[in-house]
Amino acid sequence: MSLLFLIAVPALAQETARDETVDVKGIIFGHLKDSYHWHIITIGEKEISLHLPVILYSKVSGWHFFSSRELEHTGSHEGFHITEEGAHAGKLVETLPDGTELKPLDLSLTKIALAVMINSLLLCVIVMCTARWYRRHSATDPAPGGFVGLMEYVIAMIVDDVIKPSVGKDYKRYTPLLLTIFFFILLSNIMGLIPIFPAGANVTGNIAITLTLALVTFFTVNVFGNREYWKEILWPDVPIFLKAPVPLLPFIEIVGIFTKPFALTVRLFANITAGHAIILSLTCVIFITARMGPVIGAPMTVLSVFFMIFMNLLELLVAYIQAYVFTMLSAVFIGLSRPEHQTEKKAKANAMANGRQPTVKVKEIH
């Protein structure tokens, strides 16, 4: 991200000179939010951007297909325009004949949607290339080096440190799914940090994306949860007055089913969004201080570049940690949905003996 802005310094500087103000909020939200076109670079006066298809379904006027290029000149097309305020700011809305605005079903292939596809393709290529090495070798061959070795190291670490202890007995069933979630988030996070097309879209900082990922976990947990799990929710092992006649604890447990994916959604979204916002803010410091003259501008630029490098490295760490945490929590939720058939006492004793009880609790609090 920051690099993109460093490249675009002259363009922005000109703009600054014209407008005399730096629209920090506009720059930051412009990046964080989805858009109908993918701005690649501005060279001088010329903007190079990818115009993406707009697909809309309106209850009033039916289906609409057009390129976002159409919106560039007039700002509106076929009765649709991008609204600036309200709950749908930045989205296309339809102006009805009576003057009211209606939000259509927006299936446009937006910047985020395209980035998701690019990331998905890249992920498939990476993993299938790795898998190809294994298809061509046998277990008795020496371990792979280079990129395949790195992938194997990361996979083995996630499986052994996260999935195996968290899911429990039949962890092998869930390993591919959890690994896919991990690598999808990790790759999307890293791609979000690379400022140049085709990377640079704020994929995991989009709440729709993190919600979808959390829903995958949600369905895995609740579809494959065993009887013990549902019994613990609907008829937990507590004194009778807590569950009948007022189902106090079952109610809390049922709310808990939905708070888990919600927590997953918000955690990933908030972490990545905050990271991007901080890096962009630091970038904007350069343009704000540049207007105050070279005496303030020069040292502040150096300082801000230093902080940006620091933040980028930190974000690289965050990219890994958030993918790790999301996978770990998903694994823990799956593990909790498959309690083994034994009495509560025994389970507790076992857990204490294994030293796992505290870990699980900590994970739940996160």
């Binding site: 949607a113 896919t180 729709a208």
Partner: protein, 165 residues
Amino acid sequence: MDLLIPEVGTIIWMLIAAGIVFFILVKWGFPMITRMVDERNEYIDKSLLAAKEANERLAGIQNECDELLKETRAEQSRILKEAADRRDEIIAEAEARAKENGDKLISDAREQIRLEKEEALRSLRRQVAEISVQVAERVVRKELSADDEQLSMIDRMIDDVKTGK
């Protein structure tokens, strides 16, 4: 606030893309890798176990070797000692036999010499006797032409023989 509202379109696109990716990777991607990693881990465990066993066996063999070497050394020194004894024995025996042989040879030779000497003496005496007889014959033939002389002669000769003896 609009940042916090999930867009339905994005969710649908994400579901499509992620669904395809998940399907591909869950079916053909990760199981391949994790299975292989598990297999390799198993293989390594097995190899380690085999190596340990081999090491133990090797240590056993080493011990056996040492034992064998020790035994062999003992055997060697025993054989050497035996050989030396045997050698001494043979030499002594040979010496004894040689001495015996030598003695026998010497005694034989002495006997031979004695016999030959006797033989020589005997033949010498015979020859002397013959020569004496021939000489006597000739003398007798010549002398016996006169009877006196003959008789004196005979007497003389008998005397000679008596004294000569």
